[in-house]
């Protein structure tokens, strides 16, 4: 199976928007992390739909070493309440709409893993649409992509295909280097 992410482009610290169907988006998430882990990258997953605890099981089931992935989890604390962050592994934020906390978490997690080959994965733009307007999502992604470029870090944004309106799609396309439509 061909690579979803071109290793050379990943090496060039490019930023990707991956479009997948609703039924395959979880599988794409796993495949991409597997690929980038194999290339020696540590992936920081920002998850807004599946909790950290379940994703770690799924990754383990697919042979992804837990040491290669850490999380910013916007799901768990919303249900369970006060759960403690696990340094270097998971940082919880209260809910996906709290972009300030999410921005701080991204900055801190990147600091935690400074010196490593890092790839940020944002899963997913589509889930964020439940909680935020496209204008706010666009601003946030602009903020994150700017940060990634300044820190010379590659990034992957996952979204459900055909689910973004032309305006948001155009904006996201200008923020990223490559759009990969997995259909």
């Amino acid at each position: 199976m061909p690579d979803i992410i071109d290793p050379e482009e990943l090496e060039q610290k490019k930023i990707f928007l991956i479009l997948a169907s609703p039924g395959t988006i979880r599988q794409r998430n796993i495949e991409i992390i597997k690929e980038v882990s194999t290339l020696g990258y540590h992936t920081v997953v920002i998850t807004t739909n599946f909790p950290y605890s379940i994703l770690t099981k799924l990754y383990a089931q697919n042979g992804i070493p837990s040491t290669r992935v850490s999380f910013i989890d916007a799901v768990t604390r919303n249900s369970i309440g006060n759960v403690e962050n696990i340094p270097g592994v998971v940082r919880y934020i209260n809910n996906p709409a709290n972009l300030t906390d999410m921005g701080i978490a991204v900055t801190e997690v990147l600091k935690d893993h400074s010196g490593k080959k890092i790839c940020i994965m944002y899963d997913s733009v589509s889930t964020m649409l439940i909680y935020l307007s496209s204008a706010n999502i666009s601003k946030f992604i602009h903020f994150v992509t700017n940060k990634l470029r300044l820190m010379d870090i590659s990034g992957v944004f996952l979204a459900v295909e055909k689910g973004l309106d032309p305006m948001l799609m155009t904006q996201l396309t200008t923020f990223v280097d490559n759009v990969v439509d997995m259909g």
Partner: protein, 335 residues
């Protein structure tokens, strides 16, 4: 009081009385020597009351300054010629009503006696109708302009001034307003071509949308409708236009909002459905603890609640954006 044979003849012949206009014959001192039936009807003063006196003019022009100005005007005209035409004055009738009279006079020599024949046409109704029409045009909420065959603006109403920023003084009698409204030569040319093409095919156009630049530089979207008016081979163009800028903005905003909400409703429902199916699959595989199952279910319930809130927000936004929604639908959407 002397009356000439002609005057008597005219009266006897019923010539003056049957005239539809006011006719007064005056001697050299302005005294009335003839006063026809129309003059009686219009002014309310009878022949007997006015005959042989010039006092009626004081009654008809009770305001001293106005009377003086009219007298002066007439005297000035008569210095150079022995007649005048279409002098418009306002008289006060016996019943206290103001009438507008259009005067034509001629001096004649009647058997050695100097006489002035004053013919007055009551144009009050015509003037009122004209003022009414002008008032309607001026106070219409749409831009109304009339263009003569030379392309000069003849009418430029208040709405035209309000929309464009150009006053009637700046526009009426000139041809250059279009250059001001369409300062971009290329755009102006394209509009002119479009208009010429439509006019050559239909003689008029409807709902032609253009973007004008107002006097202070703001762009406004205008919807134009034109018709040719006139007769006898001389035609004017009447253009009626609406400023639809705000309407367009509202429509664009509504489309943008509907697109946004479609994106934020359709896709998340799909995400919930997929996530629940994936969760069911993981449960079947025995991969999830009870706490994780609860976590997943609560998470999706939360997503569903948020979608419901988004729908409510969508409903109120539609109501807010479009006030023309019928009451029954509005109530439904506001629930």
């Amino acid at each position: 009081m002397e009356s000439t044979q002609n005057e008597n003849f005219c009266i006897e012949a019923g010539f003056l009385d049957n005239a539809l206009v006011m006719i007064a014959v005056l001697d050299e001192k302005g005294r009335v020597v003839s006063w026809n039936h129309a003059a009686e009807t219009i002014t309310g003063y009878s022949r007997e009351e006015v005959f042989g006196s010039n006092a009626v003019w004081k009654n008809l022009y009770p305001d001293r300054d106005y009377r003086k100005s009219v007298t002066q005007k007439i005297a000035n005209i008569l210095k150079t010629k022995n007649s005048f035409e279409n002098l418009e004055t306002s008289i006060l009738t016996r019943s206290g009503k103001t009438h507008i009279i259009l005067w034509n006079t001629k001096k004649i020599d009647a058997g050695g006696l100097s006489r002035a024949i004053a013919v007055g046409m009551d144009i009050t109704a015509e003037r009122e109708a004209s003022a009414f029409r002008e008032n309607i045009i001026d106070n219409a909420f749409v831009l109304i302009t009339v263009i003569d065959p030379d392309g000069k603006i003849q009418v430029w109403n208040k709405a035209a001034e309000m929309i464009t920023g150009y006053s009637p003084d700046e526009v009426i009698g000139h041809r250059d307003i279009w250059k001001k409204l369409y300062p971009d030569a290329e755009y102006r040319r394209s509009i002119t071509q479009k208009i010429s093409r439509i006019i050559s095919e239909h003689n008029h156009f409807e709902n032609l949308e253009t973007i004008i630049r107002t006097k202070n530089g703001d762009p406004r979207i205008i919807s134009w409708n034109t018709r040719q008016i006139g007769a006898g081979g001389i035609y004017h163009e009447i253009a009626i236009a609406r400023d639809i800028t705000e309407q367009r903005k509202a429509e664009d905003a509504l489309v943008a909002y509907m697109t946004e909400m479609t994106m934020r409703l359709k896709q998340p429902v799909g995400i919930i459905s997929t996530t629940l199916l994936e969760s069911a699959d993981l449960i079947k595989q025995g991969m999830l603890t009870q706490q994780e199952i609860i976590l997943m279910l609560e998470g999706q319930a939360r997503n569903a609640t948020q979608i419901e809130a988004n729908i409510r927000q969508f409903q109120s936004a539609i109501v807010e954006k479009n006030r023309s929604i019928p009451e029954a639908y509005r109530k439904f959407l506001e629930r």
